[in-house]
Amino acid sequence: MKNILARLYASLQGLLVPVVLLAIWQYLSAHAIVNPQILPAPTAVIAKWWEYLLPTEAFDPSRSGYLAWLFSGEMIHDAYASMYRVVVGFLVGTVLALPLGLLMGANDRIYKLFNPLIQILRPIPPIAFIPLSILWFGLGNPPAIFLIVIGAFFPVLMNTIAGVRHVDGIYIRAARSLGASQTTMFLRVMLPAATPYILTGARIGIGTAFIVVIVAEMIAVNNGLGYRILEAREFFWSDKIIAGMFTIGLLGLAIDSGMNRLNNYLLKWHRGIESN
């Protein structure tokens, strides 16, 4: 009982600052102190968010099933389009970065061969590739996914290299004295030992991918959350801009907590994480 009260108190405490800020915001809008076109009231934003979420047309059983109708809202479509690009771009980037990173980490010659090029390309922000990506791939998904691939590639690569290079020598010595071959050493010792680093890279990579997708959608495509908030600006729908931003935030949070769960699952052997 005491515990429940303490937890209730803790969550109430966490709500304090947001609630106060919302109240001030609501007050400013309700008394027309700020122009609602510049900053709409929180209630207006929530109403718009709800409208953006819901299906645009009335349910018609002859045209589609109930579930399909329920998910036919504009926001669902936009979120799906954005997530699709993030996932495809992230997977392609990781599939390219992981083997290269493992090779570079494990083999000094390969490292010296590739490292200068990577050091030159790495500091270029993915956003700077926008003109080139449109020149190469035109408009639509390909340039957007290309940018996301670049955004995800480098964090995964750098962390994989670091992970393999930092494998504790004692594991390698133990495995050698147990008779491990090169392949066994790589797959069953180096790779798992490097997993904490690789997962950190993946987490940064998908975070970058999520930033890049929003920017890419503002330029190359005509759907997705990034596109939608830019479109809303053209119509001066500031409530929809903020509603869209809110959705972007929620999606980012969902991705991050998903990665966190994956992390905890794959690293249940790791010291820092409590097993239960």
Partner: protein, 264 residues
Amino acid sequence: MQPQIHISKVSKVFSTGGRKVVALDDINLEVSPGEFICLLGPSGCGKSTLLNAIAGFSPPTAGSIVVDGRPVQAPGPDRGMVFQEYALFPWMTVEKNIAFGLEIKKQPKAQIREKVSALLEMLKLKDFRDRYPKDLSGGMRQRVAIARVLALDSPILLMDEPFGALDSLTRRNLQDELLRIWTKFRKSIIFVTHSIEESIYLADRIVVMTYRPGTIKKIVSVSMPRPRDPSSVEFNDLKKELALLVMEEQSRHNQNEIKVPAAD
């Protein structure tokens, strides 16, 4: 009897920062099959260096090490190694850690399971089968590490201060466990320690080493029957004798520490 390990004229020179350190100098030692040898000396006397050379991790600068008639060139499962830091693979469960060497040997699965179960039983690890190393105490971890090398059935065990990080009760416990295993399987053991009492409790022969350059100062045979009683007169006489030998080296070590900053 043909010696199982034949070490002749082994020396090892490290060069660090332009300075040359003679870690081992003219080491000659023969180990018979089933013999329990302790390498005893203060830190920096090269006992771990000698063990690593026998293990094949770092070859000697000169001289030869021959194991079962073959010169040592690389680490291998014929010389099972137990480290002070346990060196268990933290991403594998206790069971997987023990099975790893057998999986490398590509033994049939049923056979691996049987062997691992027997070892878990013998080392009282049955309840920890599916745990990860992070959930185990130091003593338990070292039991797993011992089980891991026993699984390979190597005729030789090389142990680098395996009980150095354990509290004294756990330590005595594992020493008894090790003697039990040794009596049962009759493996040759080379055991590095800086504890005089530990060496008397365990060894057939104690090799006392000198501090820089690491040479063999004296080889002391221990003929007391096991289990040995650390409170007996005989035990304590030997302890005094060895303490004198080791303290001489320790004081040279201390003087050296004052003269030049330590390299390691």
